[in-house]
Symmetry: D2
Subunit: 345 residues, 4 copies
């Protein structure tokens, strides 16, 4: 095997969900990680009972979460749990000096009232909310290095922020409107028995949901405004795509001053020049979900209207990888001083 | 509208399921039927709340089942309910002299012990079990005409019996083994929240289930043996297809005496010559599910091995139409003296 | 069968495509129509060879198009052919005093230069271009009654114009920007062997195409401006959905003056009050493609942003029915004095 | 990077197909391989033009095949080409003392007449046909070690032979009939523009094809008979599954003597005890395609009929991995003395 002097022990809480599984599959091949602990709330048993595809690839046994065990066995813990569950677990882990990458929405919105409005739940951990670092490496790499608690971005915000960061940072004052028409595969809804997620309900179908009312909109607003130093608000409309995984966002930005395509293109090219996981497509090409499926990539396409006043940015990611577990591993790599792309494609 | 002297009033119990919906969609266009009553166990409300696609096409209101109302409003009732539910409802309807087409499995197996073994439930209605007529028109048309209670065949048995009836009737003594490899779309599993039916679990997947243990096997055995006058037992293995609707069965029959393809083909051709809903494909062609989707057709393909000892019959139906609601309407047409194909394609 | 004094003879040119098939399936059940002629350019043979699902339902034989035969056999002809093909056929049919419903794009754009720019082909039939009536019944019913040549709207424009007509007619001066984010099932691309339409390329994938450059954009601009009496231009971005049929368009309209949701909703409610094929969903509900699949319905959903300045309209149709063959039949019904909804659901 | 003393240079001929791509994706992560050459017959250009998903992951440039270049640049070559293309390329590569793993069907059938019958083409390379080793490691590992030319098994035969090898080796004399009902995802048909492979033709559909006439049947017969030392012939019926990748075969074996389930299960357990890529599922469990997607695994399920005379074996693989490129890499690992599972999951 790949031996390493810098080997860390990692736990995954929420192993029975799709993000937890994806994290484990990445970490099982990671040269600097040993997965020492997995837990789930509703399921207990051999991992191969929960995920038969793992048979023969790991002997891990899944238990209900227990703080002491997690603390004893792990250096760093991924929380791949629904919102509110992280709130209960995180303080104990941090108190024990563990590092935490939280994939839920619990530490993303910095204003507690916003959290309570959008997530419909109380938030009692203002202390850690303040110190949580938003784990979008392309924007906040320096802060991630030394973070103890990473708030891993939502899937929709990841695709949106990577698409909008260059434009809003350099032309934020010039933006008059941002519309995000987002489409997500079904794994984005999590893994639960629900009639509206049944095959026969989703297959051969398509619809919008939570139109202008999705909890990822304020997350995009917050970090887009922060990063660009302009107050920006997006109109966000998500849709349910009949595929297993992947997000495509078509983003429409009205600008006050005309901009040429080449200027726009150069801006993005420079911004992402050295990024391993953002690819700007050649002029005239459009990103496709399948080109990033199973990878940590975000592919971007650019177009501009004939009157040079409307910019159309298309952005694709795999919601379970760059939109969740892959980005979590990328954050872990940065936190631990590993190569940022280690274990990732 | 199409006026008719012979207009009947029809009720559908179990309108919140896929078979109930399909029955209603057929009956709304049927020239001799007025749907006067719909009910469901767990849902109450305007039909367009349950099935938004029906908005503007009907003003029916769905209530919980009530025997008196059903009796008052209907001449004939379709029961599109899960097994055991029919057992509770049927006796009352029959006592009130109503005609019933039961789409559940409750009146198909004639031996109560068999029912209890395969359906895991008690059966307390031996009287009506005896008088129920098995509603496969191609085999039992004469009995259907005068039946008060129709036991509408299961989806898998419909495709299997139509595929096997000619061969087993004329060469039953010669059959040494029958294997049915069946594949069904997801609507065959009914409409309920269940993790294993989630889009992400079914899509891009395929598996066998209840291998050699499906409750439709004894139903096939019973009617195949009855119709052919030979004791025949099938080996039945169903699989879950990632499509909404449709069944394809690939049926392998070992025969003791060699048979030529032309002999076999003529046998089927004659047998189904005048049937409106069974189509024998030309030699060398294979049936496809999409060619029967939304129709009451059963398409059959025939092949025979080079050594003339193994016959391969392929049979496709739409599980919700010929495998459920369409066949129920076909039975109703026969019972009421309408044209057998009225309202059906 | 349904006899009628007003029985017409109808031909379908382009029967080997999806629109041609859909037209035929509707017309075979239409009480006032006898289909007397079908043709296709590349295929000759029994219709059941081309479409096995039609076996036993029709004896029509498909030949290459021949003007004289079409004229001899038909009162009215549907042209379900690719663009440019209609240009060659239409003049002859009109000269012979036949009525024509053209499903191609050949007679939609009224300016020949626009046609040549967007369709990349010459247009030599200025005379008939002028007299062609745009067959969107909800907007142009009176003109359709007496038309000899109907230019049947494109699939995307149908969904877009029905979504935008009320708002642009009454508030056209107030609209500052229209963005149409459109998603279409694969049958919209026609029926041809093409690698990019292969199952493995489309399935589990999603992408935008012809971003801001689709030939349906000028069609929407033209009729939206005409109907509203304001010069309006849309930004149009289509995407390819991994489903067989159906279109959903999410339409974003920026308005200069604030508008309340109730005002907006009432406007649409009144506008479509008596229309059989447009359904406005209750407040808070979103249309789904599957609710219109196989029907001639257009379902509309409305939302408005918190600041009352951005309207979001969602519109769904079945691209092969209301977006093509169903609307063609609706036009035929109007032209011939039949009930407008005859044969349609 | 992972440096290695035993680093080999590998070429892939046929990089524009799905197997070629899959091989490359595996090899790019393989610690002992440098991919030095890729070619395709109909496509020339940067690899990222052909497969945009590879952008940034490789700088390989694709040219038309040239023997001299291939010989100069590679130690070992994968031929991921259609049949007959391998026949033209292989002799030159072998003459230059290169090692070849041929994924086509050209060197599988050992009798030239059989090849010509089933593949409809002449075979002029009897010499290399004789020395080609059938690359199914679980059966022929020892021969693979020293082979110069590996004939990589077909996808269907891989799943079939792994399912049948234990039973036929130990109870071959007792088998009276073998039926293989096989279902394959669409990538098994290769990557080409073909109407019958279009999304709209395959999606929501299912059908059998080449019933009892598929060219993989004689391949199964040959190696099953060889390995078991009994003349065995299978009845083979393939079907087209509406998924991208994966094969499930349901195999029915009639036996003359009764066999208990435990005896059968032990036999398989022992046979595959130390195999890294074959997993026998626990009693009562059925394999699912998605549990092996993207992996080199073959999962097997066992059932036996109540009368102990019919064995039902279910076998799943990913047709592009264990059924093609993964198995090719497994063979390469064995040939080169690497760990057999290196680079594979």
């Amino acid at each position: 095997m790949y031996l390493s002097q810098s080997m860390i022990k990692v736990g995954i809480v929420g192993i029975s969900g799709y993000s937890g599984l994806t994290a484990l599959e990445i970490l099982l091949k990671h040269p600097h990680v040993r997965v020492t602990y997995v837990s789930a709330n509703n399921t207990e048993g051999s991992l191969s009972d929960i995920w038969p595809q793992l048979t023969g690839r790991t002997n891990l046994y899944c238990k209900k979460f227990d703080l002491k065990t997690a603390v004893d066995l792990c250096d760093l813990i991924f929380l791949a749990v629904p919102h509110t569950a992280s709130l209960e677990i995180t303080p104990g882990l941090l108190n024990a000096n563990k590092r935490v990458v939280d994939l839920s929405g619990d530490y993303r919105l910095k204003n507690i009232k916003d959290y309570e409005k959008w997530y419909g739940a109380k938030h009692g951990d203002a202390k850690n909310l303040k110190k949580a670092v938003y784990g979008l490496p392309e924007l906040y790499r320096q802060d991630i290095v030394k973070a103890q608690l990473i708030s891993n971005p939502g899937c929709y915000p990841t695709a949106a922020l990577l698409a909008l960061a260059p434009l809003s940072a350099f032309h934020g004052h010039d933006i008059s409107s941002i519309i995000i028409d987002a489409k997500s595969g079904v794994s984005g809804a999590g893994r639960k028995a629900k009639l509206s997620l049944n095959f026969t309900e989703v297959n051969e179908n398509f619809k919008a949901y939570k139109v202008l009312h999705h909890q990822h909109a304020p997350e995009i607003d917050l970090y887009l405004s922060k990063f660009s130093n302009h107050q920006l608000n997006v109109h966000f409309v998500p849709h349910l795509l009949p595929i297993n995984r992947g997000i495509l966002e078509t983003i429409y930005v009205h600008i006050n001053e005309k901009m040429g395509f080449n200027e726009l293109y150069s801006l993005y090219q420079k911004f992402y020049k050295t990024e391993p996981f953002v690819r700007l497509l050649p002029k005239g090409q459009q990103p496709e979900i399948k080109h990033v499926t199973g990878t940590n990539m975000c592919d971007l396409g650019l177009e501009i209207s004939a009157d040079s006043r409307l910019i159309v940015i298309t952005s694709v990611i795999d919601n379970l990888v760059k939109g969740a577990a892959g980005q979590a591993v990328q954050n872990m790599n940065i936190m631990c001083g590993f190569k940022e792309a280690e274990g990732l494609v």
